[in-house]
């Protein structure tokens, strides 16, 4: 993401300090993470101290200060999914992607996270990729499902 694009987003919000979270959210969704250089640019343009931006960017889980993959994989570890074998699904996904929860692979293809409940317990065990639900998934099926993502 180049600095012009960042400036565009900031200008859209009239460089108002009160729009900080909106600006961060937009950059996060475009770029998938918040590089230090971009935070410095925001700090300069919105006249908000960098320490405050860091405070906010590390407070909310929606923001990431480290690079994220093109596809976000969420494995539900809630009670219902847990009793239906979520741990085995997670292990299968870990084996396929080669990463642990909270990590991103080297090609920036997948980021893996565990979540505590996706709210569709009847479909357990559930894997969610980029917001798309893969319900009643068996460990063996995860590799097939993930193959479709480039």
């Amino acid at each position: 993401m180049d600095i012009e694009k960042v400036d565009q987003i900031i200008d859209k919000h009239n460089s108002e300090a009160s729009s900080l979270i909106q600006v961060l959210l937009e950059i996060q969704s475009e770029n998938r993470w918040l590089p230090r250089q971009i935070l410095e640019r925001i700090s300069e343009k919105l006249e908000v101290p960098l320490s405050r931006i860091q405070h906010i960017a590390t407070f909310y889980k929606a923001f990431s200060l480290i690079p994220k993959g093109r596809h976000e994989v969420h494995i539900c570890m809630g009670t219902a999914c847990h009793v239906r074998g979520a741990q085995n699904v997670l292990t299968a996904v870990e084996d396929y992607t080669g990463i642990k929860p909270g990590e991103t692979d080297l090609d920036l293809k997948f980021s893996l996270e565990t979540v505590n409940c996706l709210g569709c317990c009847a479909l357990g065990p559930v894997m969610e990729v980029d917001g798309q639900i893969h319900g009643k998934i068996s460990p063996a099926e995860t590799a097939d499902a993930l193959k479709k993502y480039e």
Binding site: P49, L50, S51, H55
Partner: protein, 203 residues
């Protein structure tokens, strides 16, 4: 500004409207222990050690005196069995983070707090926010701030700012009730001198 009449430890005192209970007590020479309070800074209410009992219309409740504004006819008790118990527990919790802090140890002795009651988890920082607030409110430099949240919250210097601003200032060092601040600064300093500046790939 109108005057407010209230009672602190049975003593009739007069305060300006908008003052806090703690400020009023301090003006009257009544001691209330504090950790996160500083007269140059806005009240913050982080450490809760200045908890007192405030009674009005026959009902009493525990309030944090550094952020509690004075009220007419308020009856404040600054020391009682109940308050001591609350302060003792707060101290025991803080001591699990910073077992070696002199300030905490002195208070612990006074209130009979057992420093080994909770399992040690020495992060050294008790999140009083004195350094963060002093840097922001008094110096206007914002060189140090909080990062993360909840149990993972910690103070963090901005390396670029620390390199230019902190060397000649360090006014926040003596404010710290523990040794967390200096440790964080030393760590930042070591990072500045030893590692090349992290250049984030923006694409």
């Amino acid at each position: 500004m109108s005057k407010v009449l209230l009672k602190i430890d049975g003593k009739e005192v007069e305060a300006e409207e908008g003052m806090t209970v703690l400020e009023t007590a301090q003006d009257e020479g009544i001691g209330i222990p504090t950790l996160c309070h500083h007269k140059k800074l806005e009240p913050y209410g982080a450490c809760r050690i200045c908890t007192v009992e405030a009674e009005k219309n026959g009902r009493s409740k525990l309030v944090v005196s550094c952020v509690y504004p004075v009220e007419k006819d308020l009856e404040v008790t600054t020391r009682s069995e109940k308050i001591d118990r609350v302060r003792r527990t707060i101290l025991e919790l803080l001591l699990s983070h910073a077992p070696d802090s002199d300030q905490l140890r002195k208070l612990a002795e006074e209130y009979g707090a057992n420093k080994d009651r909770f399992e040690k988890e020495p992060s050294f920082c008790i999140h009083c926010g004195l350094c963060v607030r002093y840097c922001a409110e008094v110096k206007g430099k914002f060189a140090v701030g909080f990062i993360n949240r909840g149990s993972r919250r910690e103070i963090n210097f901005i390396p670029e700012l620390a390199a230019t601003e902190c060397w000649n200032c360090k006014e926040c060092f003596p404010l710290c009730p523990t040794s967390a601040l200096q440790a964080a600064y030393m760590f930042t300093e070591a990072q500045i001198s030893e590692t090349p500046v992290f250049e984030a790939d923006s694409k």
